[in-house]
Amino acid sequence: MSNILNAAFGEGSILLNQDAANWEECFIIAGSALVQSNRTSTEYTTQMIEVFKELGPYMVIAPNIALAHASPGASVKSTGLSLVTLRNPVEFGSKRFDPVKIVVGLAAVDHDGHIDLMAALSELLMDVINVNFLLQADKESDVRALLG
């Protein structure tokens, strides 16, 4: 893995073993972690929720993984990620990839400045060993060690 991921997850962006009852609570947690790490303003969280309501569960991008995001705009301060692992899996309505166990929040300042970051993120999360490691982690330092 590469340092690009460690840099993308700012301070306060990694929240482990969180309790969420539904997809909206998951988005609120992932959004708050983006706000906490100074990537977005709180409006971005609202926008992510609106996008999900409009376009549905396509944001469940891989088995057990949701990529919560809205579009580049005034509510995005810098490009970055947040990571939420869930204590209990949550149904998002994705036929193929439910239930969600990990929510990654994504904020991007433009459409093409984070291509290498997406490549590193997909390389990390395509590997089920890494996903299981993240799900079992209860210390941020362990997650950071995996990130590179």
Binding site: Y58, I61, A70, P72, R96, D112, H114, I115, M118, S122
Partner: protein, 91 residues
């Protein structure tokens, strides 16, 4: 040959789709431009695309485009993308 990779906001799955489509095309020996687009832009500007790649949930919203629609289930799966692109390209 113009290929577009579409997702809702144009920053998530479409970026992965574009990356993997470019890798797939290279391995198939095909030269083509792949552009990542958000759904709105694709609906407006997608009429010139020969192939439209997107995830299953967004297919109904792109049905009016004249290009060939390619449904991708898992945007991180290079082999699925290579296989479906090859088939769409008649290879």
């Amino acid at each position: 040959m113009k290929i577009i990779a579409v997702c809702g906001m144009g920053i998530g799955s479409s970026i992965s789709l574009k990356m993997n489509a470019e890798k797939a095309l290279e391995s198939l020996g095909i030269k083509a431009e792949v552009q990542a687009l958000d759904l709105r832009k694709a609906q407006k500007e997608g009429h010139t695309a020969d192939i439209i790649m997107t995830t299953i949930d967004l297919i109904p919203m792109l049905k009016d485009l004249p290009g060939k629609l390619v449904e991708i289930e898992y945007v991180w799966d290079l082999s699925e993308i290579r296989q479906k692109l090859a088939s769409a390209l008649g290879q």
